[in-house]
Symmetry: D2
Subunit: 384 residues, 4 copies
Amino acid sequence: MRSLEIDASWDPSAEYEPTEIETDSRKAMNASEVWRNPELKVTEKECPSPKNDEVLIRVRYAGICGSDVSMIETDEDGYVHYSAYLRLPNITGHEFSGEVVETGEDARLFETGDLVTAEVTDYCGRCNMCRQGFQGHCENFEQVGFTTSGAFAKYVTVSEKLLWDVSSLRNAYGDDDEVLRAAATIEPTTISYYGLFKRAEGVVPGDYHVYHGAGPIGLTGMNVSRASGAGKVIAFEPSEERRAVARELGFEHVYDPISRDPVETVDVVTNDEGADVHVETSGAVAQTYPVIEETLAEGANVVHISNAKTTHEITLRKYQGNSAQLYGSEGHTGNQVYPRVIRLMASGRLDNLPIVTSTFDISNADEALHRAAERVDGKVLIEI
Amino acid sequence: MRSLEIDASWDPSAEYEPTEIETDSRKAMNASEVWRNPELKVTEKECPSPKNDEVLIRVRYAGICGSDVSMIETDEDGYVHYSAYLRLPNITGHEFSGEVVETGEDARLFETGDLVTAEVTDYCGRCNMCRQGFQGHCENFEQVGFTTSGAFAKYVTVSEKLLWDVSSLRNAYGDDDEVLRAAATIEPTTISYYGLFKRAEGVVPGDYHVYHGAGPIGLTGMNVSRASGAGKVIAFEPSEERRAVARELGFEHVYDPISRDPVETVDVVTNDEGADVHVETSGAVAQTYPVIEETLAEGANVVHISNAKTTHEITLRKYQGNSAQLYGSEGHTGNQVYPRVIRLMASGRLDNLPIVTSTFDISNADEALHRAAERVDGKVLIEI
Amino acid sequence: MRSLEIDASWDPSAEYEPTEIETDSRKAMNASEVWRNPELKVTEKECPSPKNDEVLIRVRYAGICGSDVSMIETDEDGYVHYSAYLRLPNITGHEFSGEVVETGEDARLFETGDLVTAEVTDYCGRCNMCRQGFQGHCENFEQVGFTTSGAFAKYVTVSEKLLWDVSSLRNAYGDDDEVLRAAATIEPTTISYYGLFKRAEGVVPGDYHVYHGAGPIGLTGMNVSRASGAGKVIAFEPSEERRAVARELGFEHVYDPISRDPVETVDVVTNDEGADVHVETSGAVAQTYPVIEETLAEGANVVHISNAKTTHEITLRKYQGNSAQLYGSEGHTGNQVYPRVIRLMASGRLDNLPIVTSTFDISNADEALHRAAERVDGKVLIEI
Amino acid sequence: MRSLEIDASWDPSAEYEPTEIETDSRKAMNASEVWRNPELKVTEKECPSPKNDEVLIRVRYAGICGSDVSMIETDEDGYVHYSAYLRLPNITGHEFSGEVVETGEDARLFETGDLVTAEVTDYCGRCNMCRQGFQGHCENFEQVGFTTSGAFAKYVTVSEKLLWDVSSLRNAYGDDDEVLRAAATIEPTTISYYGLFKRAEGVVPGDYHVYHGAGPIGLTGMNVSRASGAGKVIAFEPSEERRAVARELGFEHVYDPISRDPVETVDVVTNDEGADVHVETSGAVAQTYPVIEETLAEGANVVHISNAKTTHEITLRKYQGNSAQLYGSEGHTGNQVYPRVIRLMASGRLDNLPIVTSTFDISNADEALHRAAERVDGKVLIEI
């Protein structure tokens, strides 16, 4: 089957000593210290077959995530930017939709023909984290498209407990092609939903939300916020193209944080009441936190979602003076996140299709990745 | 000024012994045990003048609430149905909008010309309930339109701490007449918002909501639920006219609970997942609770809003087997309820105007009340 | 190995039609409609051996639960009282402590010699309930001592994900015998902890708690409440012996609800402020709910834990007028319940040993069960 | 009446331009930019008399807070350290107990002879913050002992809505002198209670708590944590004297963060599970946050209470990787904080008396303040 594969050299940096398990499994816990000189190629691989509780899916659309891009971008020494858990060579891709074509002997939840999407983190359900309810930080986790074969291929197998039926999207879309395109954007959408409604505890309808960064996570998050009753959604994004996508989605308060003072802007848009919810989706924390801290409404929730590599200065006094709190959030694993996001999309009030600004055929999947690396699209999809 | 006044005879029933305070103040704690043979008349009263922190408002629209109706409906002995706190004679009416025309010497929050609506419960801020944060159950409360002069009149005075500016609705409506019509529906809308987001603690976007009863509270509640991200909103309502209003608002799942089995209906609409949120807005608890208890999703929240006069049978086993909870909710007093509802309306995603199905001039206010008593309208407004 | 076994006749009542799965597996979903004429015997069984992720435990103490008793008590037609999921014949017993003596090939969390106790509900981790975080209501659940062999025997095997290390109790107790006696009371203790801190959401230190019923669940619950900062703990219990146990534990406000008016008593003890937390652990709902509803403090939480077989009358008005809520609670499965209860016991501030009022040797296990059926003990233990 | 008065020169720094209101009222919003060369004296002042809803209290004990000390400590230019709202000259002192001796004509909650303590922040109840439930950040606030006359005097008047009856402490203490000494420590105790149970949302019994700083706020907080069910309470404090007080209170895990590595210590004490609750009460954020971030248990709550003057580096990655959150907390104003802390003390399970390590007569109140400035005591009280 036609697949997009990434490979690189296992070459741990001087400071990093991989464990025996890492070396044996070729799964680096911090890829950016181990994997060097990545290569990307479209190639033919053998079709997998579903074992036990696995389900075989004929992939139809797969989105390119910033993490996919960071596996082929390198520092000056050739080490990849991606800094989490990664096995290579691997077929990557973890934001996808498709159709069930075969089920493992133990699989009971799905049938051939079901339209589905998948969660990313495969948890063991038995370790000390899992049995305390922390499946998202499972001690034995695997990740579809990171440590196991992913979705930039005609077929992928996934444990059925990670799969969710998306046929209810037919309520919102006219044909199954649209359903599957929309379904491929569910995974990034769950990231904000998880941060806003499973990590933060006090987000209520009518709150004013600010997104710092309107890339794929920010744009799908803005859609979540609006569908969930945000009184206003404000976005700051330096890319003109991405601001255009946000406006195309119908958002009115979309600004360039460089040409326009963000604090003053929030003050004007919120009538000096400040923002109740601040979502950091840019990673440019040195620029965004000073803005956040000057625009906290009383009781504000700050949800940190982006991958911030550095520490940053925080002014604790601001969180005290405004009864504010800061939540670190990552991933989407947890109670009902996928089913609730799917329901929001099925209601017709959360439409991500305008965010999809480029679509490439799987034969040109490498080009798709290079395109995504330009960071001007809403979302780049691969059609398979 | 032209006003709608209700009066009745102070004639405590044999079982009810009013306190000295009740007798002296003519404020009955349980009106249905004291006030008899009510009379309704449109009359001329003197215009009030704002004292201390009060604000004088030129009323523009005032909605008729079920409680207004229950002040003129009686039992066979002539006692009014309304069973809470009431002083008579009084100008009633507590769901209104208008324009500030004068402010008391201590009032600081508003200026002449401001468009406003008001909360109902005037709390003292100093009693043992208030200082513990329970202003809604203030020990010394007064209620606009119940124990103090209300809004079925050209002018009304209200303590400024109960008033909220509604000029932001200009963002959603084309002219100030529409703004003021919409603003007169804020009060009933806050009842569900308070129940869903200040009393219940686990309502999240994507949840399936069921309203048992689509009168004014149910209809405005359904609007709140949809604007706040309900995955689906289901309503059961025996009145054909009110079902028509619900459909006019764009709701798809609106049913007659008599001609169609409600449990089976919820099962079908929710694909057997059950409803996450159940809002009781009908008062017909003997009919609705058995349905609620058969359709509880795991972790379901039941929000009891209606005025249920009787006890009812509850099957505790159902709440255990579905990890469900039941919240008693009344009123709207509390942190940020009004400002958040106003923001939802200003966003354009919560439009109550289609709910207003009859409008009467203040000169025909008595007819308006009789019309509302037929219980077939969405909302009856009086234009003043 | 010496074991206590219960058997009965599979004889479905006229109204109950078991599914094929029930018949094949001899697991009745509602035991009280199927199992008839129970017999109890101390007998010799073969020692089990741990498979896969199972752990073999040398049981040391096992408590008798009301559910064990209800498996040998019958209605007039000979059907057992126990109304939930039950396979017979079976070694029952699910409240126990012991020492790990062997581990299955896949077990990784425990080692020989570890002192442990266990959760009851074995969840699959893969069904639609489990993957949404509702493991306690797993669609494929098994229960130790109900559908799988339990702890009234020298050895028991349990999936390791249900086991918790109790060696930290050595911090609170002088020797391992005391550690293991105390550890056998952890399971009942988790029932209230789960209800108070995982189901109810607003219980805070200083709240006044009332227990309606001071049997084993009520007594261990009172210990949880006190250790967790209850301002006062009030108990109503008709059994003089159980009231004596409560007083022995150091509780001051322990009353007979028959000889003393409970509403008046709560008013006096709480200085008319009412109780913030009401825990129903008696099952006598016709008597207790009227008391609960007359003594609700503003914002009160009612936690329903007992097995109430009947419906009961509820006065919704009371929940509205006091901003109160009612939570159905059962079991203990969920995030961190066991580890947190173990920590409370290890701190020395939650001591259940005085609750253990009778201890029988496994050879007299049948007598132990008959003793427990008298319902006068705090907790009856079997030493093995 | 004998009183301790602080005065200083109104001499705004070059960078600070006071508003007209500040200048007219002599209330500086940031005292450290305005008040210079403070002087402290014990002097005779006239006894106040209670107006409106005020109550006159015969003060019996008054504690010295860090803020009192910082009003007489200065930078090299002579400006006081205290950086919040302050009017001078003033009788300071806001942690106190006493007896009601007279009530204003509008006061209804108290009677002569009642034993009381008081909240600090007097809120207006009418501004836009108050009417949204944010009384702690009232726009028109006054503070007892900061902008109004305080308790380092024989008598003080306070608005009755800030007063709380402490006679229930008689349940825990043998005589009224002990009751009043204990009651004078309620105010500092409420600071942690508010942070743990009104700001943070997920603190549950059995959690492991770490206090970074065991001065008066830390020590009373540790008492709150233990009484509220902390599984373990760990404290880091460089002062040997204060560590001794902590041990005197019965805390086992009390360490010098300088001579002993705090991260390693938390790892050992928590058996590598990490701490669930981290309370910053030291102000030494450059030292404490790196420790906090290395010892976060999954789902950890960080409660920031101290007055941190500087920004500090935060590692957001740690909050994401551990699903942790950070709450800014200040003050104690809010629903039921005082009544709940009083109940905990009345239960006998929260005893602050061992924290009181020095007591001075009001005639030597200036010495008391100098003593407190040495920062080696648990709590310094003035007896009046």
